[in-house]
Assembly symmetry: C3
Homo-oligomer: 167 residues x 3
């Protein structure tokens, strides 16, 4: 640290915030079907690996997922991607990030509950809960994702193996 110039230190900070921004932009893109986000955020040979053999290769293929009839139907029903604070590690011109992601939907079958001043609702349910590992690269157009791997936190070892890579 002590041998770094101010510019190098500042760049490390900017890098981290740029990667935060990439990860923070994913939920609004997913929940609105904004394919341009995926096209810009992933490299042309980037990969999304959702587990169970479900994957998309290349930023165009990744972007097209949110335009499918199934994804649009999920959006119409009420779809929320909710992400927390990620752990981000920069290593020169590459970086990795570990984040958690909830996929939340309206709980249509739950009895309505009234909370004073906060309305009466049936509430929402966490439909999916995943651990994400993002692999990123610095490009002339900013940081881009080369690989996003998602595993469900359902007790299976795959999610734990993914999270362990953070350390």
């Amino acid at each position: 640290m002590t041998t770094q110039t101010l510019e190098q230190r500042l760049r490390a900070v900017e890098d981290k915030l740029a990667i935060y921004q990439l990860i923070a932009s994913h939920p609004p893109a997913a929940d609105t079907g904004t394919d341009s986000y995926y096209r810009d955020a992933f490299t042309s040979d980037g990969t999304v690996d959702l587990g169970g053999g479900k994957a998309a290769n290349g930023n165009e293929a990744i972007a097209s997922v949110v335009k499918t009839e199934a994804h649009q139907a999920a959006i119409a029903g009420g779809l929320c991607h909710f992400t927390g604070l990620p752990r981000v590690t920069i290593n020169g011109d590459t970086a990795t990030a570990t984040s958690y992601l909830q996929v939340i939907t309206p709980n249509r079958d739950a009895p309505a509950v009234d909370i004073p001043g906060h309305g009466t609702t049936g509430g929402f349910r966490i439909h999916r809960l995943g651990a994400n590992r993002w692999e990123l690269v610095r490009t002339p157009d900013g940081w881009k994702v080369t690989r996003r791997t998602l595993r469900q936190l359902d007790g299976s070892p795959e999610a734990r193996d993914l999270l362990k890579q953070a350390f």
Copy 2:
């Protein structure tokens, strides 16, 4: 980027972190009824638009909401505002931020579940789930909110329209 001075780049970073701090301070303020947070965080003509015609105009009116009997009753019953990582865009002396917000309450009717080492609870339920758009302005006293718009992510188009503005 290349034509910016170190000071300008540093200021952009400080701006982003200051806005993170404003957004991160909202849940503790809401959950404790700390009206001074709202008085300081919003401009005197700031607005909170919660949808469905529910709105408060001016930082004093906004601050007074958490002192109402209804809000105090919600706090006494167990109230949690939970926010994730926001997307923040600075544009000179104004900024916008997009964030997600869960309002969570104890699940008083659910059967108790035991998780080893983590106690036996009936758990908690997500009562409300919203998309937030924050509009901010730089002032001599730091960044302040001119408008916060919240829409429920229940499948209605309003939340999607709000989220789309992020892009």
Copy 3:
């Protein structure tokens, strides 16, 4: 602010991001039983106070918790710590942070729900929901936690008292 050098301002930014990283690293460590995280993140006389008289004193004791049979059983069943955006206040060589934490587990008794393009699951439940207060100190080896206090947001006054300290 105006009297601070660029180096001082940059250091304040780096401090905040270092504390974000400490807090963001907690969930992956808890959910994988990575005891080295706790050993490194806490001072040798650091304390974790979970409320109800449940506490661990010293980084070694704190680290050993995730190696207990109970914690390992919870991990095997599917365990997720989910944290949002923290509020962080630096004060020279000490700092405090306020964060929220969900402990989420698979909802084994819930009926399966299908969301188009997002699979069929019984979903997940929020088992615990806590307010955290982190007290930190700058050391030659980076920021370390001297005390983490957690209180459940179940309507009892302890969590509110903890959150109020943020202001």
